[in-house]
């Protein structure tokens, strides 16, 4: 390196110039990521400011943990935290195993036409927007001859139609059911693909030893796809505080439901975008972000001890 003569460009610049065309493929995209992902990450610091929309980020006063303390003492704090945790856990306990169960069941079907039909139909809701899904739910549960009320009345389970979407007790059930309905088919794709990789000899051996189909399902198929399940479980735990956003915003639009429907994300939206309390909302969002990272790291630590790790 020291022997580089005068007038010669340093090696790095020379190499960069030689591959300028490929650098040109990636640098604009990276610049783009810098602007649209990293500037907002830096902007999170406004959680420690009293952000003023007119003077901007640079000249807003720093206030330390003021907004965090305010959030911790806010009257909504406990209900927001409770809803976030409960809704996420419900989604995890019900929404996570459901597609695995579906994949296991689909695997038992040998009639190809039936199998493909069920698969295609069950993927369908994944591609529909939450707006339309919430429209379906509102229509089915409506007191104005919503199908669900009609069904219950014909089964003589109820006398009067029930306005399900305005009764807080039903909200979590509706939310979780709708979530499962929307994603069960699509999420089952990965598990089905994993199942096709299971060695058929295992089933033959199992059948030879007198294992019933049910037994094979739980003693051969399920253990074989366990690594895939664990990876997805870790990813899900990292997302644990993402209790939902669009679904809750749309299905929980009725103010009567606020006490059971408000989660961290919808709360950030309400105080931040609708009430313009920018710094406060950012602090709430940051609080959630920190917890999420801790959860993901914890889940990965636990998984590593069991021999499966994300990184």
């Amino acid at each position: 390196m020291k022997r580089l003569g005068r007038g010669r460009k340093p090696k790095l610049t020379e190499d960069l110039l030689r591959q300028w065309d490929v650098q040109l493929m990636v640098l604009p995209a990276l610049l783009f990521i810098l602007v649209f992902s990293y500037i907002p990450m830096y902007g999170v610091l406004m959680a420690f400011q009293d952000y003023n929309i007119f003077t901007g980020f640079m000249s807003s006063p720093w206030v330390g943990f003021k907004h965090f303390e305010r959030f911790f003492h806010a009257p909504e704090f406990w209900s927001v935290i409770r809803n976030t945790v409960v809704i996420s856990l419900l989604k995890l306990f019900i929404g996570f195993p459901a597609p695995i169960l579906l994949a296991l069941m689909l695997n038992e079907i040998h009639n190809r036409v039936f199998k493909r039909t069920i698969q295609t139909i069950s993927y369908l809701p994944h591609f529909i927007s939450w707006v339309i899904v919430s429209g379906f739910v509102t229509s089915l549960l409506s007191t104005d001859n919503g199908s669900f009320n009609i069904l219950l009345q014909q089964l003589n389970l109820i006398d009067e139609p029930i306005n399900f979407l305005s009764i807080p007790e039903y909200f979590w059930t509706i939310l979780v059911t709708t979530g499962v309905w929307k994603e069960i088919g699509f999420s089952s794709i990965v598990y089905l693909a994993a199942i096709t990789g299971v060695d058929p000899q295992l089933y033959e051996a199992g059948a030879m030893d007198g294992a019933s189909r049910l037994r094979q399902m739980f003693s051969i198929t399920l253990p074989s796809i366990l690594p895939v399940i664990i990876i997805f479980l870790i990813l899900n735990i990292g997302n644990l505080l993402n209790a939902g956003f669009e679904d809750i915003l749309l299905l929980g639009a009725n103010p009567v439901l606020r006490d059971v429907a408000d989660v961290i994300d919808t709360y950030v939206y309400r105080v931040g975008i609708q009430n313009n309390r920018y710094s406060y909302a950012t602090a709430v969002g940051l609080f959630k972000g920190v917890l999420s990272v801790a959860l993901l790291a914890g889940a990965n630590y636990a998984a590593r001890r069991s021999g499966n790790s994300l990184w």
Binding site: V22, V26, A29, L30, P40, I132, G135, R213, V228
Partner: protein
């Protein structure tokens, strides 16, 4: 192989469960379609489930005459086409560059990308950035922020890496530049991954209602999903009101609710059909795309 009684029972139970599931997945679409084809006044009498009682195309006629709704569809179409094309193009170029092992700074670039998958500034800082960039109330606010998707870049990159290296080399020997190789050799051979990612991106653009709802106030620029959300929301309000009001007012409000209900069902159908027409054909590709995306970080 002989099936025992237990196995047969299991089989029967599974068939029944799957049938119920398939029915549950399909019924909401069917019911909405039926209501949209039923005359609004008749729907008010109740009991519409599997079949229209008074078949009519009136609801659709109203939807297709409503300029605001048509405008919404036009914005959605434009946004979906422009947004998908630009995003897929930009992301594919980025991904191809990132496949080159001799690219200086590649590891660093990758870290820059991966970090964004775990951390983000969140709603408010992003909103303020968009404001600073003067993107509020423009068409481009629906296209530009999502232009580069790190997730799609990784899927593209994995796919490109799986292609035989000889392709690249022989084209280079024939005097093709790197950009030439990408556009003349690599992309034309990437049909499946292009179809999958284009489908996912297009579905995202078609379905997104939230971003326009906070970034756009000009009604003429709102896509159909956002307009639909506003309609449905006002329906809910009406229904709430009708339950608290006196009997007479309640009847009037119910009439409004039900007729708007038929109309919103028709609008929902129109907003759903484009997706229903496309996804079954891309199904065989996206199963593979999902696998690459989810298992290879």
């Amino acid at each position: 192989m002989k099936l025992t009684l237990g196995d047969k029972t299991l089989s029967a139970v599974i068939y029944i469960l799957l049938f119920v599931l398939g029915f549950a997945a399909f019924y909401p679409f069917w019911n909405a379609a039926v209501i949209s084809f039923n005359s609004g006044n008749d729907t008010m009498r109740g009991g519409i489930t599997f079949w229209p009682r008074e078949f009519t195309l009136e609801n659709y006629a109203v939807v297709f005459k409503d300029e605001r709704l048509l405008g919404g569809f036009a914005v959605s179409m434009l946004r979906t086409v422009v947004g998908t094309l630009l995003s897929i193009l930009a992301t594919a170029i980025f991904a191809y560059g990132m496949t080159k092992t001799w690219l200086i700074g590649r590891k660093f670039y990758m870290v820059v990308c991966i970090v964004t998958m775990f951390f983000s500034g969140g709603l408010i800082p992003t909103y303020l950035l968009i404001r600073e960039l003067q993107l509020i109330d423009t068409f481009w606010v629906m296209v530009v922020p999502g232009l580069i998707s790190v997730w799609n870049m990784i899927i593209f990159r994995t796919f490109f890496k799986g292609m035989p290296a000889g392709l690249d080399e022989s084209a280079r020997i024939d005097g093709c530049s790197n950009w030439g190789v990408l556009f003349r050799i690599i992309l034309p051979l990437s049909g499946p991954v292009l179809a999958t990612l284009a489908l996912f991106t297009a579905v995202y653009h078609w379905n997104d209602w939230f971003a326009p709802s906070i970034y756009i106030s000009n009604v003429d620029l709102l896509p159909i999903q956002t307009k639909l959300q506003q309609i449905l929301n006002s329906n809910i309000m009406l229904e709430q009101m009708s339950q608290m009001d006196s009997a007479a007012a309640s009847h009037l409000n119910r009439m409004k609710t039900v007729t708007t209900k038929s109309l919103s069902m028709a609008t929902m159908m129109v907003a759903t059909v484009p997706i229903l027409c496309v996804y079954p054909f891309v199904q065989k590709y996206f199963v593979k795309g999902v696998m690459i995306g989810s298992l290879k970080e």
